[in-house]
Point group: C2
């Protein structure tokens, strides 16, 4: 079993997931194409950043693969509280910002980390950030995630859904980033889960991603929108920027550890806005969206 | 002397500086007017936030006054490493984002902090962020700051200019935020400086602000600009957002300490943009600007 889930095998699978997602998203977009940037990390490894800008559906979409390794810096060693002195990490990170405010922003990350003392873990998640929350689409999204979770552990969905509610939260706004999804971290084998089962779970999420987002694109791509709705989209994107720059661990870690800035910040939208003290009108779709941006909503009911 | 520089006196002076700055900036703008929001802090004190949006010259300008006091939270006590259990803080914070990309963004902060064990200090700074750096205007700006510094201490300018270079720096971009200015913190009386002299220095900066910015507005307000220059302005504003959300201590402290979010984030521009891996053309005004965004430039020569 252990050869099947070697770090090389995981990286190879994640690389293929990146490629498959880009193909599927190009098909869904219709005209946009991903550009490729291969980059190297001085201390070991590198990545492949793929960005689509100015598509028919997607204003800006980034799909980043990386496979990095090397000695721990003292700072990393201390923050990890480990005696290991080298690490290997690979993962796929995605953020997509559509043109149409009725199509949600989506994010996915799957990652694997191991150290040369034998410890390893998987982490990841998918979350959805609609500019306008539509209950039935949020339900669809959560149902799809639950189906994948249930294949591996009937406790995964509720545990990882709650984790996402806590993680994708903007304290200074007292708002969740969107309708949540799932988030998990530090998963490694135990009595109930083998390493390969956790790895397969992450692969299944990677395979689920294009299915879910293509569905959400096709549900909403024909919907008309007004100037006001476009402006609201810009404001919601402003919140996305706030979350990513102030709270997102991956972003902060990346910037602090001298990562490739343009690959890390590909998550930022092409355009965002901030108005002072903007308050949506009572009973407006904007106010209804805000009312749903909270923890603990049961999207399956 | 000590009655002259009581906390009440300092707060009163800063409050007047806020009011004078708003009047002067309204005059310079010509049509925009500041709106007022008074707010209270549950634990003690409050503030007066003044925002101008959609002016002839200024797209978004915020001038925030606050005077807060109360018991230290445990977190604050620990981070301050003090046995004092109550504090008082007052200050004026300003950020202005103009419509015309040839007018620079400007920031000023003056603040006073004291604890109930008798310790106190002043902090503050002014820095300029041109979308297009113009050497002679950066020189004018630094010369004016030096003149005020020199009134109080011939060592202030070079010390505080270097401090600003270090503080207003974006490590993940390897760029300064703009052409710098001055930054100082933890100033309190010593053999060479009385409390009132440090206080008067901060007042003089507050008085200098409208003079400087009115001059820079009037120098540039008549200049035409293209779509491309407007877009470049949006990209530079994106960097401003990155600095404020990732590094600015006041912003981070404010958000973490449950401050008034809309007053803290009034520093963000109405609109900002991010393009993946944007590289200005060689020898373009944009490339010339980037080349000047570094520490240690002697703007006076």
């Amino acid at each position: 079993m252990s050869t099947e889930v070697s770090k090389e095998h995981i990286a190879e699978s994640y690389r293929k997931i990146q490629s498959d997602i880009c193909s599927a998203i190009e098909s869904a977009d219709g005209t946009g194409l991903f550009k490729s940037d291969h980059w190297n990390r001085d201390e070991g490894g590198g990545g492949h950043t793929r960005i689509l800008e100015g598509g028919s559906v997607l204003e800006k979409a980034g799909v980043n693969f990386s496979e990095v390794h090397g000695p721990f810096s003292d700072v990393m060693k201390q923050s990890m509280q480990t005696k290991a002195d080298a690490f290997f990490a690979t993962g796929v990170s995605i953020v997509m910002h559509p043109n149409n405010p009725h199509i949600p922003i989506i994010h996915m990350n799957i990652r694997y980390f191991e150290m040369n003392d034998g410890t390893y873990w998987f982490g990841g998640g998918i979350d959805l950030t609609p500019h306008y929350v539509q209950r039935e689409q949020a339900s669809y999204f959560h149902k799809e995630l639950k189906d994948v979770c249930d294949k591996y552990d009937s406790a995964y969905y509720s545990r990882f859904k709650e984790w996402a509610d806590d993680y994708f939260f903007i304290p200074h706004r007292n708002e969740t980033r969107g309708v949540g999804g799932i988030f998990y971290d530090h998963l490694s084998e135990d009595e109930e889960h083998s390493k390969s089962s956790i790895f397969n779970f992450s692969e299944d999420l990677g395979k689920l991603f294009p299915k879910i987002y293509t569905h959400l694109i096709n549900e909403n791509r024909g919907r008309e929108y007004s100037e006001e709705e476009k402006e609201w989209q810009m404001v919601r994107r402003g919140r996305y920027v706030e979350f990513n720059l102030v709270y997102d661990r991956g972003t902060k870690f990346g910037l602090q550890s001298n990562g490739r800035t343009e690959s890390i910040l590909m998550s930022l939208p092409r355009q965002a806005m901030w108005f002072y003290n903007l308050e949506p009108k009572e009973n407006s779709p904007e106010a209804e969206t805000i009312a749903l941006l909270k923890k603990g909503v049961d999207w399956l009911s």
